[in-house]
């Protein structure tokens, strides 16, 4: 087992990882930028090392400083957290080359899953349903037109090495196809210096469903059920829940076993997620997130499994503590992401408490929210015997939450919780904009 883990991250996820490390009796070392010298993660950690100035490029994205920091503090492993370098195959490789354990899948696995076309093909081979698509790069218009006619409009053009909407184009009729391909190729070249594009059938307002997987190096692969992440604002998740109100037991069972099969096939280790789109009848493989995710706590609530703990065990050569049989999925859990709309000093802070309420945050009264990083400042998670009680509890907790000194999206979250659309549980990726228009 590893003895000392270096956390190459900040904010709530750094605090989250420190907590589990302490419970496991493993030393927790936090690498911090000068902007985070005074922060909860640094205060809770057993040790902290300054790894650069505020600018992320020179600190949390600076592989050399992070790895040297881990060596400096005599750590034997590095946890990348989420975002920053968590899905960088190169970083994972450098960590391994430095003789440290990388808490995540192997560099090869990460790079392999990073290529959307490759990943899609592997999913197909593993027998997972994928959205009807060109199955590989598309270069000429004819192929595109032929596919679009077969699959039916609308279709979507994507960049093979793409992400974040770059190089994407939705095409609703043949006349738009040629120009859309040209633009997408150009965008892809400029953004990812790789002009390769492919085409897929485009689904209107589907549910965004993902399955949480845990795996170790002894061939054990288990799932913790699915999460519904449909409520998004410009591709940013706002509220997540488990189980999904739109997935019936049969679909869930098939999705989860598909996910387990795929991860067994690619020899994955640690925590990972497979994203699906669900149109109400069928689900389609989208992509794999080769890391732990921000919304993992909702799965921890319904499964009572510590995902970070099993991830650390799985990636450091230990067998996981649990088997699929141990996992009983019970109740319902919701996570509201609390984002800061402005940086500034927290002049007053009252954190919700009581039964079945969990807060993962790095805020405290007197702390100054820095303008340098992500806007996520707190995750408010509730649990209940059923979805209705989890919702009632979340409303209560949101009412309790006082954050003064900065602007947050707490009111938006209240609006979502109070909307009939959300309460009925009938929504897809267009759901949030509809709720906010109400």
């Amino acid at each position: 087992m590893v003895k000392s883990v270096f956390i190459a991250n900040r904010g709530e996820i750094a605090v989250r990882i420190v907590r589990t490390l302490k419970e496991m009796g493993i030393e927790a070392v936090v690498g911090y930028s000068e902007a985070d010298r005074v922060s909860l993660a640094v205060e809770l950690a057993d040790k902290a090392v300054c790894i650069g100035p505020a600018e992320a490029k020179k600190s949390y994205l600076h592989s050399a400083n992070l790895i040297s920091g881990a060596l400096y503090a005599d750590c034997d492993a590095i946890h990348p957290g989420v975002g920053f370098l968590s899905e960088s195959a190169q970083f994972a490789q450098q960590v391994q080359d430095a003789g440290l354990v990388f808490i995540g899948p192997d560099a090869e696995t990460i790079s392999f899953l990073g290529d959307k076309v490759q990943a899609r093909q592997t999913a197909l081979d593993a027998g997972l349903p994928v959205t009807p698509g060109s199955d590989g790069p598309v270069t000429d218009l004819e192929t595109a037109v032929a596919f679009a006619e077969k699959a039916g409009y609308p279709v979507i053009i994507k960049a093979a090495s793409g992400g974040g909407g770059k190089g994407m184009r939705i095409v609703r009729e043949e006349s738009e196809l040629e120009s859309a391909m040209r633009i997408a190729t150009h965008e892809a070249e400029t953004s990812f210096s790789d002009g390769t594009i492919y085409i897929e059938k485009y689904l209107e307002n589907p549910r965004h469903i993902e399955v949480q997987i845990l795996a170790d190096t002894f061939g054990n692969v288990i799932h913790l059920g699915e999460r519904d992440c449909s409520l998004q604002k410009n591709h940013q998740k706002v509220l997540e829940e488990s189980p999904s109100p739109g997935i019936d037991p049969d679909i869930r069972e098939r999705m989860c076993s598909d996910a387990v099969n795929l991860f067994k096939k690619i020899g994955y280790k640690g925590a990972g997620t497979i994203e699906f789109l669900f149109d109400g009848e069928d689900y389609y493989f989208m992509e794999v997130n080769a890391r732990v995710q921000v919304e993992h706590p909702v799965s921890e609530y319904i499964s009572n499994v510590d995902i970070i703990k099993e991830q650390i065990r799985g990636c450091s050569g230990e067998p996981m503590d649990i088997t699929q049989e141990d996992v009983k999925l019970e109740g319902a859990s919701i996570e509201c992401r609390i984002n800061a709309a402005t940086p500034g000093k927290i002049t007053r802070y009252l954190q919700p408490g009581g039964r079945n309420v969990r807060v993962d945050s790095f805020l405290y009264q007197g702390y100054t929210v820095s303008p340098h990083y992500d806007s996520l400042v707190s995750k408010l998670i509730t649990y209940g015997r059923d979805r209705r009680s989890a919702i009632a509890r979340m409303k209560r907790a949101l009412d309790e939450y006082v954050i003064e000194g900065i602007d947050t999206n707490i009111e938006v979250q209240k609006k979502i919780l109070n909307s009939t659309l959300f309460q009925r549980g009938i929504f897809g990726t267009f759901g949030l904009s509809r709720i906010l228009e109400e």
Partner: protein, 160 residues
């Protein structure tokens, strides 16, 4: 009173535990007040920096320059004769280009802008650190082959 003197006073008060300051010298009057009389203990760097390797931490806590040091390779303080060259990256500090060769600099040496003063090794890469200005090396603050974090004061120098 000259502007530079007033700035010096502001910095002194700023880094001190005093709340305000008032000076009257014949015709001259100066009054300085700090924001928020109540001091949030959390905002005290030395307290939070505590987890850092003790030796260094003590240094930081006592030395305002060390705090300012991070902002660049060379840190300025009010006292012109009191400056530091700090670590621009995390790594291992070497005073010599190779084990058997002599150190780049000794205390008391004068170095000119662009001259290599030490090596910081990170990821098996030897990074030569050059002086950003002409200066005299007053003190060498770290041991040869010592691991250093970002912003660690390496040399106390005097600008020339």
């Amino acid at each position: 009173m000259k502007k530079s003197e007033i700035i010096e006073l502001i910095e002194k008060l700023d880094t001190s535990s005093l709340a305000e300051m008032y000076i009257k010298d014949g015709e001259f009057e100066l009054s300085l007040k700090k924001a928020g009389a109540v001091v949030q203990p959390i905002a005290a760097p030395q307290q939070v920096a505590a987890p850092v390797v003790p030796a260094m931490d003590g240094h930081m806590a006592q030395d305002p320059a060390a705090e300012a040091g991070g902002s660049g390779a060379a840190a300025e303080t009010a006292d012109e004769s009191h400056e530091f060259i700090t670590a621009p990256i995390v790594g291992t500090f070497y005073r010599t280009p190779s084990p058997d060769s002599p150190p780049y600099v000794e205390e008391g040496d004068e170095v000119s802008k662009g001259e290599t003063i030490c090596i910081i090794e990170a990821m098996k890469v030897m990074n030569e650190l050059e002086a950003e200005f002409d200066c005299r090396i007053k003190r060498i603050l770290v041991e040869n082959q010592q691991m250093i974090e970002y912003g660690t004061p390496l040399f106390e120098v005097e600008k020339l």
